[in-house]
Subunit: 496 residues, 2 copies
């Protein structure tokens, strides 16, 4: 076996996009007769990426799509049936594979809408339903939400650095982690704040505007830069951006201006030039001066070359005259932190005799990393201007006390008493009920607009890159106390 | 538009997995009548990833598959036809789209086989054929080869740290950059030296062994660890690896031993335990002692938790008793360097009057980064033990002199004279001729075995992680001199 047809994920079923242990546990639950015990899992990350103060939730639409198409095809089951244990016997008995064949998805799913700003330890997705099914969703949900949230957040940071009016073009496909890594990142980058992509498939699939200039090879295929630029202008008289650094950047700008003059004589305008190497602060200032002096004040300056939010901030501080940022590797892979460590933890399990819930925790050496038991909701309290003030996790399976206090589990002395009149919204919204979708998802463009409003609603101290202020997120006091009690019960008592 | 069907790359055509500028340039070449001018491009990276001394070439089989399936479907062309320029006119005229519709691939492709060790500035792929076609391949070839080579190299380094007999399990899917990021990385990780994956789809698609343990949620779904381990052992009596750190690691080991004793009474053996947190050096030594004392000397100890080559090296130096390494995020994303900066550069173009070749270069501020003109081959000279001694790039379109000298373009005083009797092999092998495949590709397992032999053939000083020795790679002297002359011709002369 070697390359799968068409190199990638060309599969009528994506049920096998999972870790083997989801299937071995599923078999174990089925064998124990536990497959239909009602369970609750939460998907969350512990720390916002890039040492930042927030993240932009993303990936829900892809996750919904995966869930709605979840089924085990005959090919899937034939493969699972072919797996052998170390003693040579079938890993999974036929009866279990028949069970998977007829499995129908019946879970409830609640989720934070795409584009919403979120913080560490807040459930982005809550799955409630039969234990076996809810467990089976883990890997795919994590893969999609971790990556989409990571890239959307990176794009939001790059937007923060570029400011509201500069254009951000994502063109990282060649450095992406596979075709779908590129496609998915283009989607998330647009959601988080990019204006356009070079990825044509992303344009077709998601309706993202596509943009491009030309490569050095274009210039090298002609006698000189004037010939190359002239030929490109002939093809795209109103949409040409000339790459000027094949031989010498400022010399290239002068050649571009020669062609731009001819274009203007024919009632066309040079749209832009692109700088792809060298000192972008210096070169962009020089290029701007030369263009302006020649009367090409509307010609845009596009820059590329390993750009990311800190470099863009620095270039702006140096007075760079760049108005369009071409961002590749650093955005498409979230290069400086290439993964978000989201997890999916069991938090409640219906008792075997159906007499109520057992709430469950996973301990950790650090108490802040210990999971939160319950059937959780996130309530976002707003200040008098309608801006986020603090988030509270609470257990929807227990009554809320009249006087609400939020406790930061990482610092139990950090507490916030909530005045009764404080307005709030609940972040987790119903998406599936008993396996049926109950919510239309917004378009990608609407999620993008939501993301921009959400990020802008945060105080600048939370949005800044260096040592951002920590937005208050905590547990409602009853939940906090209950969790502490559960930890003490589960932890072996050590003598000293 | 929102989620594409089945979340990912479920497409009958992958021709649009490209940057828009490949298509705008294609239109420009077509408009100029240059579409069939014969061109030569090389795909190469400049520096081995991870500050390492080598890379393991990978991705060719996926690239071949993409190329063989390359065609523009009606949907693709309809989308391209729908694109508009800034003045509202069609970006591409219908005649050009018709040209794309009937386009047949006719290029020659030569490539380094997967699993071969390669170094900076060496072409991994050489494409020769009609300019328009050769240009169109750029993005997809780069995406596939950059990512596969990156991950295969990371896996080879992890294999180097783990040693030849320890098992390496790749289980990073949940942190992968999308479904296909995970699938592709599983493939490349296996090629580079991993033994198995948790990714079931990768098992099905590529025949990679699949492995798994169980999650914390399994333990949390039972009354206690003994009940959880017992139930898992019932499902997989000869293939159970118990995760012991849900509450307290060493306590978990003792619970595992209780169940292992019952298993042994029924003629089954506990395959392993897994440690997923805490001080893995200390905990593995303690766990080994407890297991050995109880008579479970064959029970393996699996460790996971952000492992990578440096941490594995350190754990081994600390006497950790780990024999199976579960590697996730750090391998699946090549976390500490999440992209390989491979490029695709035009190096030769047939003269318009067909009287010969124009060799082309892209200048850079740093001469070492300037591209190499010619129709290149890489010759690997071997020492008296058949091990790599030095690599020489030369232009196949020029005669080789009798006395061969290799010059390092980054340090022109670093030269190596080749004795005539020195044995060598040529790295680039024919894969396509006139658009037809002329070579069967090896199986993935064969490429994996080739990779292990290749890495082992390198001197340990080149394989080490810290400040590895630089393997000698240079230009044949005639090529070096010709390139220098071209640079001087192209560079604007500045006064001072």
């Amino acid at each position: 076996m070697n390359a799968a047809p068409l190199s990638g994920l060309y599969a009528p079923s994506l049920a096998l996009v999972t870790d083997l242990y989801q299937l071995t546990m599923a078999y174990g639950y089925w064998q124990q007769g536990m497959q239909d015990r009602e369970a609750v899992f939460h998907l969350y990350f512990r720390k916002a990426p890039f040492q930042g103060g927030y993240a932009v939730a993303a990936g829900l639409a892809l996750a919904v799509d995966w869930v709605e198409n979840l089924h085990f095809s005959d090919d899937d089951l034939a493969y699972l049936g072919s797996l052998r244990g170390s003693k040579g016997g079938a890993l999974f008995p036929t009866e279990f594979l028949d069970y998977l064949r007829q499995l129908k998805f019946t879970c409830d799913i609640d989720a934070v809408p795409e584009g919403t700003v979120v913080f560490g330890n807040e459930p982005l997705i809550r799955v409630r339903g039969p234990l076996l099914q809810a467990q089976l969703l883990e890997t795919a949900l994590l893969t999609l939400v971790n990556f989409q949230t990571l890239i959307a957040t990176k794009a939001a940071r790059i937007r923060e650095a570029a400011g509201p009016t500069d254009q951000i073009l994502e063109f990282g496909l060649r450095r992406a982690q596979g075709f779908d890594g590129g496609l998915g990142a283009s989607r998330a980058a647009f959601l988080g704040g990019a204006d356009a992509t070079s990825n044509v498939l992303a344009g077709q699939r998601y309706g993202i505007p596509v943009r491009g200039t030309h490569a050095h090879s274009w210039v090298m295929s002609f006698e000189d830069e004037v010939a190359a630029f002239g030929a490109y202008a002939k093809a795209f008289p109103d949409d040409s951006v000339f790459l000027v650094d094949t031989y010498d950047t400022l010399d290239g700008v002068r050649q571009a201006i020669k062609v731009a003059r001819e274009m203007r004589a024919n009632s066309h305008e040079l749209a832009g030039i692109r700088l792809d190497s060298g000192d972008l602060a210096y070169l962009s200032r020089e290029a701007r001066a030369v263009l302006d002096e020649a009367g090409f004040t509307a010609t845009r300056i596009v820059a590329s070359n390993d750009l990311e939010e800190n470099l863009i901030t620095s270039l702006k501080q140096q007075g760079a005259r760049i108005d369009t940022w071409g961002v590749g590797t650093q955005l498409i892979t979230a290069y400086n932190q290439a993964a978000l460590g989201g997890v999916y933890k069991l938090a409640a399990l219906r008792k075997a005799d159906d007499s109520g819930w057992d709430f469950t925790i996973k301990l950790s050496e650090q108490v802040a990393k210990t999971s939160v038991p319950g059937i959780l909701q996130v309530r976002r309290y707003l200040n008098e201007h309608g801006k986020p003030r603090a988030d509270m996790l609470y257990n929807t399976a227990a009554p809320l006390p009249d006087q609400l206090t939020i406790i930061d589990p990482a610092d139990i002395t950090r507490r916030l008493a909530i005045r009764p009149e404080t307005t709030f919204r609940e972040l987790l919204e119903p998406v599936f009920r008993a396996g049926q979708r109950v919510r239309e998802l917004p378009t990608l463009a609407d999620s993008r607009a939501h993301a921009q409003r959400e990020v802008q609603s945060l105080d600048p101290s939370i949005r800044r890159f260096l040592n951002p202020h920590t937005y208050p997120v905590g547990l409602e006091k009853d939940l906090f106390d209950y969790r502490t009690q559960l930890i003490l019960e589960k932890k072996p008592v050590r003598g000293a």
